[in-house]
Symmetry: C2
Subunit: 366 residues, 2 copies
């Protein structure tokens, strides 16, 4: 081991890192990678060739397979994953940090390098057998307490954090309700439209159409170019403006969401969130301070919450993110996990390490 901690960051290759618009897993990888580089960690980012990073970029896939249909996802997945493990097999890295779902786990017993796996969500119960089979050879990280499974052992729960400088605090009370996420039944676009109609407020919907049939039947018929508008998927600059100008983010989810980046991002601009109390929402939203938690399915409750939204202090909404969901806090948590895995006797030299406190959201346990 050299004097600098060497981390191989294994990103998904569906989208570029950082993603141009959609791509939450790639976005978190980017935030963590740049944060670690800023702390002096020697990071090799395994990602698409068009990714942008201050780390050393190692690429097999020229572009994301979700952005270029000529690329075979399965082919580029395995070439990409193997490249990171081959680097580990050479003894060239200290920690391999997997953000690429379950396939990399099956390579983990073939190298001596410790493998950290952030579980960005279980796409299906059917993939769980792989996590169970490799639980002993990888350090699993849950992204929320809600997403922890009782049948798996975790090394830590680490909430995502975001770079606050990308989100401008806006004290104004906003002029529209906002839906921000994939257009898919899970995310509750239809419920957001109902709440907008019942409160007589304007609604802007932003996000990729993941379920075209749902868009056609549950969203499109209500678009009038006035009260209910769909603006497509938006990039970082537009996102900051769109989030900050909202009265509230409507996050009326229909599933146990493991984390909600848009929830934290909205709050970072001062915009409170009205969410159904499912999945990680109670961990992300300080009820009555940074938004309102509504019983799942209670649309009446969501309508009433819109009417009470001005009770909330947008400064307190922002402060909630500053306390709990910064990139710095996430980087701290992962660094502590890496160091715990490598042992107390490993001297890891970091430069520019800022003073940072132990975060209340980082429930670290074995």
């Amino acid at each position: 081991m050299t004097d600098r901690l060497r981390v191989a960051m294994l990103a998904p290759v569906a989208w570029r890192v950082p993603p141009l618009h959609y791509g939450p897993w790639e976005r978190v990888v980017s935030i963590l990678t740049e944060g670690l580089v800023a702390r002096g960690v020697d990071v090799t980012l395994f990602a698409t060739a068009d990714s942008i990073t201050r780390a050393r970029l190692a690429a097999v896939a020229p572009r994301g397979y979700a952005e270029d249909s000529s690329l075979d996802a399965k082919v580029y997945e395995c070439l990409h994953i193997a490249a990171a493990f081959e680097q580990a097999a050479k003894g060239a890295i200290d920690i391999l940090h997997n953000h690429f779902d379950f396939l990399p786990l099956t390579f983990s017993r073939l190298v001596a390098t410790p493998v950290v796996t952030t579980v960005h969500g279980f796409s299906s119960e059917r993939i769980v057998p792989v996590y169970r089979a490799y639980n002993s050879t990888t350090h699993l990280v849950a992204i929320s307490a809600a997403d922890r499974r009782a049948d798996l052992e975790y090394a830590a729960t680490i909430h995502h954090g975001i770079p606050l400088d990308e989100f401008t605090f806006r004290p104004g009370s906003g002029s529209y309700l906002l839906f921000f996420g994939r257009i898919h039944p899970d995310k509750g676009a239809g419920e957001a439209i109902e709440v907008a109609q019942r409160t007589g407020r304007k609604l802007i919907l932003a996000g990729i159409v993941q379920d075209p049939e749902y868009f056609r039947t549950a969203v499109e018929p209500f678009l009038d170019g006035q009260q209910i508008q769909y603006v497509g998927s938006v990039g970082p600059t537009q996102r900051d403006v769109l989030l900050g100008g909202a009265i509230a983010l409507l996050h009326l989810i229909q599933f146990e969401e493991p984390f909600g980046l848009s929830v934290v991002e909205a709050m970072a601009t001062g915009t409170p969130v009205i969410a159904f109390r499912r999945g990680s929402m109670p961990e992300l939203i300080d009820d009555g301070v940074s938004g309102f938690l509504i019983d799942a399915g209670d649309t009446d409750g969501a309508v009433a919450a819109v009417d009470r939204i001005s009770d909330l202090d947008r400064r307190a909404v922002r402060a909630h993110v500053e306390r709990n969901f910064t990139a710095e806090r996430m980087v701290d948590d992962y660094l502590r996990l890496y160091q715990r895995i490598l042992g107390e006797n490993v001297a890891v030299q970091l430069r520019d390490a800022p003073q940072h406190r132990v975060s209340p959201t980082a429930e670290v346990r074995r």
Copy 2:
């Protein structure tokens, strides 16, 4: 290394080994595995748990994912492949023989064990980058000269062989034309129907329906229960009877077929084959002796060939298979390849090794 050669045979897990009906890759794995065991090789067969073998069975998938839709193919593929490589990493095997397409190649640099890969066919040009990337760390075997790519280095070309005792020689001239294969445009079921109609012969079609739309439009309208009959997919016993009772097998393929097990199987019963001259067909059929090679697309030529089929001696048809396509010859060829890879200085103890000659079809080169 012990005194016995230890081979890990990595089968696909789409179907059981041996397959109950369809499953050509699994079938070849079974033939090779049982043949090696008979020679005293210590074989661990990595396959579905319901597989049947005299080798040591190592299973992760309970059943084939093509036979049980509750199984996630990607999950069981990676668990299964990793199990074989983990065995290799322990130093417990001398050769890992991969029959599982490209994904295992990406594990090959993480173990010291030599990896032999039989390429059962390139499903798409898009998978070739994996073969190119790992060409230097696996010994590729082509299943025909026709299937060799100029941009890849091969360790050998080894034609498949079949167990002759499963195929009864039938001297009678047969009473129907036979189509035997997947119902898919590639395999020429429609062309077989045309030839049957134009020659006024009865036609039996057997095989799984791989392309339901093609079956509905190109096959089903012609089924009359008399002249043109479809009997579905057949198992080993029925297959022997069906192949042996045919006037000829019509193999009017519409693609560069890398090998044709049914072609060899038909010839083993004495039934000659009328095939379009594509892919491996010139390597499998002795034109004018064990069948007729017809210019691709020349249905008139195929019709004329049916009329001259009685010119062929069914005994000579069978003899062609006895000379070139027995399981013993295939096992010999693979054993020689394993020994070449392990080096002359490796003493491999084999029992019951029969006398066998060098096959003209085993063009072994580096």
